[in-house]
Amino acid sequence: MTEEKKKSLFDRIWDVFASVKLAIIIFALIAMTSVVGTVIEQQAEPEKNIQVLVKMFGVSHDTAHSILGVLDSLGFTNMYHSWWFLAFLLLFAANLIICSLERLPRIWKLVQEKIRPVPAPYLEKMSIKHAFAIPGKASGLKDTVAAALRSGGFKPAEAAEAAAVQLYAEKGNYSRLGVYITHLSILIILAGAIIGIFFGFNAFLNLPEGETTSVAYKDRGIEVPLGFEMRCDNFEVEFYPNSEMPKAYKSWLTVLKNGQEVMKKAIVVNDPLTYQGITFYQSSYGMVPNSAGRGVLILRAVSKEGKSEQLNLKFGTTFTIPGTTVTGTIRDFSPALSFDQGGNPFTYSDQMTNPAIYVEFADKGTRSFSGWILKRFPRTWDLPDGNRVEFLDYWGVQYTGMQVRKDPGVVIVYLGCIIMAVGLYMTFFMSHRRVWVSLTEEKGSVKVLIGASANRNRASLERKIEKMVSVISAGHKGGK
């Protein structure tokens, strides 16, 4: 009691932070508040969360409104950035650091201590032990035992006393540090996250085909200079055959520095482009407003005889199929063409999900036929007169939406992840194993006494020792 009283305030606080009990309390606190954070949608329109509350608790709209008001003032609507959540994380880190500082020196000393021979009576009390006698001499048996230990992965040392020899070895001594490596890795990951928050940025960029920019945009339209220029050469959505299911969103990008092309890459979701620490992720796409008539149509006209020519055309222009007198005029465009039950065409979306052009054909000036040519349906490319018009692309009307990120902390986070994997492996899949074999000569036979211990996964060491015992007995018989 008196001991307790003498402790200074600092010591008492230190003790609190050095306890696993506090860790458990913090785990519970973070877990429970996080649950609330998954139910209340974060950084959302208030109306959304009011609906959630109404659905969950069956309260009236007004009550839900005031509940949300309370939650909002407590920070629950943007909880992972609230001061108290950050405080939990800080407590967590402090607890982890102090707890480790408190224990590490002792563990370090233990780990440094090398295994030593022990008196035979101790071996009798070990959790794994074997005792048996083999006729012969200790000196002859010693090599058999050493070989058995070596084949089990141990490097035995030797100590001799009067009529006895002891071989002893240990393995996985440092695995006891696994827990601390795991804990350290958590701190490294937290540090990486903090570096990312302070020295990185998250921005987006909607870049129309053919355009170049030197900035990206953060929330509320704040410009972030890139330090180089980025051009979108082309954007395309690929679909699975005969399906509305998108297979890939692909942007062809070019990085320019001082007007020089320095890098070219086609990015898709899951395969971003990184230049000078800034990474561009494919994230969305769309039509540039009021651009429908202003892009460039890329067609390939192929005549019956197989003559072909690639054409870059403006809306409303007329082209000729090479080697023929047939001409076509582009009269209409739809980004997403469909037909209703009466067979009348209509546009079902303002995105380029099914681009189509309406072309009027004429032969020597007289109108011959007209119809829709769809980019995604090559059967519409064959004309009734045997010629062919392939619709390759409509360029310059779409933009690619990219997430732009700079995060110097990511490497540190990844490093922390690797260290965590190593630490967890050491903690759970390795163990500190010790084994002693004492050989005592007694009236023409050798008394073999084996003792072993493991701090984890004892059963597997037990099996290993059993195998060694049979190898020792068998090996000895063979050697006679």
């Binding site: 458990i24 785990f27 954070g37 949608e41 959630v52 297979k247 899951n270 994230s283 990844y414």
Partner: protein, 361 residues
């Protein structure tokens, strides 16, 4: 041959194995036990074959490499894989500990999971991968998550059994805890079964089912009388489990498994599951998100629930180190941990998506 034939065979094998394992418990006839094991192995082989077939079908349809065509992209496929891992873990335990008694606890979980697939009417079609899922991390991430979920499921069963064996009095906290937990588990499953029987015809998709029909046949019924009766029946059932829980204890005690073995099994499955979950579930998930969206952590509900689960099991590992926490308290943490797992896996997609529009993306 179609993969669904072999999935069907596996389901039937597991259901019969479940019946046999339970009768083995009751009658202790070793032939019954051997047949149960044989059936489980047959079901497992058939299921393995079915997964490989589906993998090949998927590769064909998606037109991509083997690594990308892992059949683990929707709820249906992931549940199948979960059951596969669970049965594998069980078979390993059966052969290692030479004890069949766990079968009566594991096979029902497998059979129920497969039945849940049919009950919820979830889509079994092979869908080509949307761009966000076309990542080599998908294989490692999803597979390792499910292996750890299966290990956590084992720790749940053994933890619950530990509590059953170690509780003496009906008024004890641990006794009340296990009877109520088990009671709620059974009640929820039964209520979902009733939903299925009642609304089978009306349902088109799994999501619609969960959002619109979950517990509609019982607790959320339009008629107040029926929902009251449901609550009353559930309460009565939980009371019965509480009143007659001793019987279950007798059965489990007759297994010749010591409480220490159960505790050890609970710890071991978590000690293997936890690193696998950390690496596969959290770290690989974060790397994938980083590559796909440029953010390794966004606090979205699925990520957050994985973190909650992780904290729960860290809680478990540390609480074993606390003075006075050995035994029942720790086992209760293991049991609750699995509730977090179920929520991470099913609840986030099915329930929170009813509140937000998360699942539809």
């Amino acid at each position: 041959m179609n993969s669904s034939v072999f999935f069907g065979l596996a389901t039937i094998a597991y259901i019969f194995a479940m019946i046999l394992y339970i009768s083995y418990l009751a009658f202790r006839k070793s032939t019954v036990g051997i047949v149960a094991t044989t059936l489980t192995i047959a079901g497992f082989v058939s299921q393995t074959f079915a997964i490989l077939l589906r993998w090949a079908e998927f590769k064909e349809i998606g037109g991509m490499g083997w690594l990308r065509a892992v059949p683990l992209t929707n709820l249906y496929e992931s549940l199948i894989f979960f059951v596969w891992c669970l049965i594998l873990a069980y078979l390993i335990i059966e052969f290692k500990y030479r004890n069949r008694s766990f079968g009566a606890f594991i096979t029902p979980v497998a059979a129920l999971a497969l039945a849940f697939i049919d009950i919820s009417g979830m889509s079994k079609n092979i869908q080509p991968l949307v761009p966000a899922l076309q990542s080599n991390w998908l294989l490692a991430h999803v597979m390792m998550s499910f292996i750890s979920y299966a290990l956590f499921a084992v720790s749940f069963s053994t933890g619950l059994m530990y509590l059953i064996v170690r509780s003496e009095e009906r008024t004890e906290g641990s006794y009340i805890f296990w009877t109520v937990t088990l009671g709620i588990f059974v009640v929820v499953l039964a209520a979902m079964g009733l939903d299925y029987l009642t609304f089978k015809m009306a349902v088109k998709s799994q999501e619609e089912f969960i959002k619109g029909y979950l517990f509609r046949a019982t607790f959320r019924n339009e008629s107040a009388a029926i929902s009251l009766v449901s609550v009353a029946v559930s309460a009565a059932f939980i009371f019965l489990v509480w009143r007659y829980g001793g019987i279950l204890k007798k059965i489990i005690s007759s297994f010749n498994i010591s409480a220490d073995t159960l505790d050890d099994l609970t710890y071991k499955s978590i000690a293997i599951g936890f690193p696998i979950f950390t690496l596969g579930g959290l770290i690989f998930g974060a790397i994938w998100a980083d590559q796909a969206w440029g953010k390794y952590w966004t606090w979205d509900p699925k990520e957050t629930w994985s973190l909650i689960t992780w904290f729960f099991y860290a809680f478990y590992l540390h609480s074993r180190l606390m003075r006075g926490w050995k035994g029942r308290k720790v086992a209760a943490v293991a049991v609750l941990g699995f509730v977090a797992v179920i929520f991470t896996y099913l609840g986030v997609n099915l329930l929170l998506s009813g509140l937000h529009s998360y699942g539809s993306q």
